[in-house]
């Protein structure tokens, strides 16, 4: 049943197994634990078997392993296809292939599969350190490929690695040529599996207590913004994403229904221009400063009537938008009751205390604006606290928060405030987005992280239209002015990168972020648009794919000629073997004496012939040949023997 492994022989096998283990390792981050463990167990099994300490599993065990694991994957992912399940299946196949590997061909296929699994890692991350790691894995896999074809070189670890690095370096110019010139397409070739972009963090279209404070725990970057001229102060950086108008008593959600009337937008002051580089988040929202100029909305996006800027497709790759916004504006001043009805809606029941409070304030206040002011004063003056770890809230969440726990994050304040406004008859809605951002002086742009996620309110006031009110600012003004890190009390679980207490770390991080931004823009984000832009800037105009293909062909020819010139450059001649040279001198002496040695005749044969043809020379010849063989092939070759050999040859007189 079980067979011992014969190929690849052991030193070569180390290379192969190491490469495979290294390529599977990063997948462990998202594979089910049992599958990663199983894969590594199978690699360990194969490794042990290679040294003959374990037999390889028979066909039936392999079938059982395959069937069992495939069933497990099916249970885990509910499918065998799609991105994540596909990667899980590939990992399984690779590990099984190792166990099933019998000969050269199998081993080669294993390396190919390994390469393929490298590429699937890029589904999950494309950052610089990860890319560096994976190219190191490619280095090992390529060394394994070389070693499989020349097992004799597997023993030393330096030589295969060096040769593999040489191959990859020589291939690099070709890679660069094709990377720049291969015609990029605008979108996917066909529909992608639905899970292709899962696991992306970002704002969702619902807001309930806790949803944003969870997001804030992540220091992942949401987008970067580079201003054309002077950047506005942080307190004015409200990056608007979504308007949540629907409320079911607990959750706030988007109003998808359209309104017939357009919103009027009046703007004053000078607009600010900036470029957003939005990280893929698989949702269509784009994060314009309040409020974007409706006349200069980028292509592929549209502005809704409540001023949400939406891309036509979910943002699935790093995308750049050039935008113009007015920071001084009035919107929807002429909104009629029909347009405001939804902004006044509350469920019939729930949160009685809050309703009661709203009624009281309403009765005392002289105007809608006064209601807003009084509620904000309430937040400011009473002992409300700003925290990332608010207590859990029950059924009447607004009541509980306002009167019992009094601890909350921005969504609690915005939610409670908006509820109170509506209860007091003031049209109000919630806006989510990001607030502030960290300025990076190295690249002179703002980095906006998920930890900058924020929620605020908009109330509609007669004569002023929709006005932004940020109740969090009433509780914690430093949140708005100085960012989240300074607003939270010490000891709150802040993401590491947001902390402000380590200056040098901050500088390092900013330098690194500038590098990774360019990486993201020019390497990871190099798409059709960037490609066309690059060649336009280089003065080629708008290149067609036909021109690109010609470029590739010509470039390939030129580069290959250059690489060939390098590969076939005349190398140093090996230093002539001193022993060999002396032996040839000895042969030349014998040749003069009429005993020519054809190149094919070995030393022993030659000595035998000398003994037969010229017995008087036999003793000398034998001595020389004896030492020659000892020096060339013997284990005891030494400089003493060499000296003896040299003097024998010199004194040899036929």
């Amino acid at each position: 049943m079980a067979r011992h492994s014969s190929f690849p022989p052991l030193p070569a096998a180390h290379w192969l197994f190491a490469g495979i283990a290294l390529v599977i390792a990063p997948h462990a981050a998202h594979l089910p634990v049992w599958l990663s463990a199983l894969a590594f167990a199978m690699i360990a099994w194969r490794w042990t078997a290679a040294s003959g300490r374990l037999p390889l599993p028979g066909k039936w065990i392999l079938m059982l392993l395959l069937a069992g694991s495939a069933a497990g994957i099916l249970l885990e992912y509910r499918t065998l296809f799609g991105r994540d399940a596909g990667v899980a299946m590939l990992t399984l196949m690779l590990a099984l292939k190792l166990l099933e590997m019998r000969g050269y061909r199998d081993a080669m296929l294993t390396v190919f599969l390994g390469y393929f699994l490298v590429i699937t890692n890029f589904f999950y991350a494309q950052e610089i350190p990860f890319a560096v790691y994976l190219f190191a894995v490619v280095l090992v896999l390529t060394a394994a490929l070389v070693v499989l074809n020349h097992p004799a070189s597997a023993g030393q670890w330096r030589r295969p690695l060096k040769f593999s690095a040489q191959l990859l370096l020589q291939a690099a110019p070709l890679m660069l040529l094709f990377f720049l010139l291969f015609p990029r397409t605008g979108g996917p070739l066909w529909g992608m599996p639905s899970d292709a972009f899962s696991a992306k963090t970002g704002l969702s279209e619902n807001m309930s207590p806790g949803s944003i404070s969870q997001l804030v725990q992540s220091d992942a970057i949401a987008f970067r913004a580079e201003f054309a001229s002077v950047a506005p102060p942080p307190s004015r950086l409200y990056w608007r994403a979504l308007v949540l108008e629907n409320f079911d008593g607990r959750n706030w959600s988007r109003n998808r229904g359209g309104y017939a009337a357009e919103t009027t937008i009046e703007t004053t002051g000078t607009p600010v221009s900036y470029t957003l580089t939005v990280e893929p988040h698989d949702k269509p929202w784009v994060f314009a400063l309040e409020v974007p100029d409706p006349l200069t909305v980028p292509q592929d996006t549209r502005l809704t009537r409540d001023l949400q800027l939406l891309a036509n497709k979910p943002v699935q790759r790093l995308t750049r938008y050039t935008l113009t916004s007015y920071l001084d504006y009035r919107i929807g001043r002429d909104a009629g009751p029909g347009q405001l009805r939804n902004a006044l809606f509350l469920p019939r029941n729930g949160n009685p205390q809050a309703r009661e409070l709203a009624r009281r304030v309403r009765d005392e206040a002289g105007s809608d604006a006064d209601v807003v002011a009084r509620i904000l004063a309430l937040f400011r003056e009473q002992d409300y606290a700003y925290t990332l770890t608010p207590p859990l809230l029950g059924q009447d969440g607004v009541d509980e928060f306002l009167f019992k726990t009094r601890k909350g994050f921005c969504e609690h304040y915005a939610g409670a405030f908006t509820f109170l406004m509506r209860a007091a008859g003031v049209p109000a809605r919630i806006v989510t987005g990001y607030q502030g951002g960290e300025f990076n002086p190295v690249g002179s742009y703002f980095i906006v992280r998920q930890s900058d996620a924020h929620a605020w309110s908009e109330v509609w006031l007669q004569g002023r239209g929709w006005v932004r009110v940020d109740p969090t600012a009433a509780v914690s003004s430093t949140r708005i002015e100085n960012g989240i890190a300074s607003a939270l009390p010490a000891g709150e679980p802040l993401p590491f990168l947001v902390r402000t207490d380590m200056e040098w770390l901050k500088h390092l991080r900013q330098g690194w972020d500038a590098v990774s931004t360019y990486w993201d823009l020019w390497v990871v984000g190099f798409d059709q648009e960037e490609q066309i832009g690059l060649f336009a800037r280089l003065g080629f105009g708008i290149v067609s794919w036909r021109e690109l293909v010609w470029g590739m062909a010509i470039g390939l020819g030129l580069l290959l000629a250059a690489i060939a010139a390098f590969v076939f450059r005349p190398g140093r001649r090996p230093a002539p073997d001193k022993v060999q040279a002396l032996y040839l001198k000895f042969c030349a002496k014998l040749e003069k004496a009429g005993l020519a040695r054809p190149p094919s005749e070995g030393p022993l044969d030659f000595a035998e012939r000398v003994r037969w043809q010229r017995p008087e020379l036999a003793a000398g010849t034998d001595a020389v040949v004896h030492l020659y063989i000892q020096l060339r092939y013997g284990a005891r070759a030494s400089s003493e023997i060499y000296g003896e050999f040299a003097s024998l040859v010199r004194n040899f007189k036929p």
Binding site: V138, A152, S600, R611, L627
Partner: protein, 309 residues
């Protein structure tokens, strides 16, 4: 088709240096599989917009392309020379030697011949490779065409070249069944026994010293120089002289006679006799020693064959 084209070249005498005109290169089957893998990786990169996927795909594609140069380089400049062939008896394997020399190291070369097991070897600077080819009939055995190939370094491409040298091994007749002791008196001419111990002090070489060797026979000069004891050997011929005659084997057909004569040559050499050979057209005076044995066997091997057959 290619092979037929090349076969037209016929065999060559001198050392052959592999160059552009002699080296062929094509992807292996695994190379084609690799291309399929790369295509799948490219399609995946396009579909998912994986920029680093493009990088990896093009890098591996580049490695395969650069691999063409390296695979070619592994054969290029390789000098292949005829390094002789060891004679064999019919029914055994003749061993053909080829000497390889290269300006730099060459790896995982495969030497293939229609009728031999492939031989795999590296060439560091020079190297001799030997191919065993079964010898079926006496005469001159030509190995035919050698294919020298290599898939080094990646296994994705195979470079190869055909080499056909003027290479021949002498195949001696398969020794016949009747041992020398049973040779009928009439079948051999027993010459006179030389009474003198001819050449009793003929120096016949050195061998490693063994316990029991007379100290008088130790080559002290050599021992002083090399640090190893060696014993001088002297030919000490004192056997009878025999003549093996074709005419005495009338009961056998020609090939069987040659076989039988070969057997006796071997036995006589073994028994340290002096022996001569007489076959139609050739007469070899009695002698002794390996070169003599070789002369006799060669004469038997090539009997009746054209000069260059």
């Amino acid at each position: 088709m290619l092979s037929q084209l090349v076969r037209g070249r016929g065999s060559e005498a001198g050392p052959v240096v592999l160059d552009r005109r002699r080296i062929y290169i094509l992807p292996t089957r695994l190379g084609a599989v690799f291309a399929v893998f790369l295509t799948a990786m490219l399609i995946g990169s396009i579909n998912y917009g994986l920029s680093l996927g493009y990088v990896l795909t093009f890098l591996l594609g580049g490695v395969a392309v650069v691999g063409i140069l390296h695979t070619y380089k592994n054969l290029q400049g390789l000098k292949i020379a005829d390094a002789g062939a060891s004679p064999a008896f019919a029914g055994e394997d003749a061993v053909f030697h080829l000497e390889f020399a290269a300006p730099g190291p060459r790896f995982a070369l495969n030497l293939l011949n229609r009728s031999a097991e492939p031989v795999r070897f590296d060439v560091e600077a020079t190297r001799r490779a030997s191919v065993r080819i079964p010898a079926t009939r006496r005469g001159r055995l030509k190995p035919g065409r050698f294919t020298l190939s290599s898939v080094y370094p990646l296994g994705l491409l195979r470079a190869w070249s055909y080499v056909q040298l003027d290479h021949a091994a002498i195949v001696y007749p398969k020794p016949g069944g009747i041992p020398l002791e049973r040779m009928a008196a009439g079948e051999a001419d027993t010459g006179e026994r030389p009474g003198t111990r001819e050449g009793s002090d003929d120096f016949a070489g050195l061998r490693a010293w063994q316990p029991g060797d007379s100290p008088r026979q130790v080559a002290w000069k050599v021992a002083a120089r090399s640090g190893m004891l060696a014993t001088k050997r002297f030919s000490d011929v004192e056997g009878a002289t025999v003549l093996f005659d074709w005419g005495n084997l009338a009961s056998l057909d020609a090939e069987a006679r040659l076989s039988q004569l070969a057997r006796w040559v071997l036995d006589a050499e073994q028994a340290d006799l002096r022996y001569g050979l007489r076959i139609p057209g050739i007469e070899i005076a009695p002698g002794n020693g390996l070169p003599h044995r070789q002369r006799c066997l060669e004469a038997l091997a090539l009997f009746g064959l054209p000069e260059h057959g």
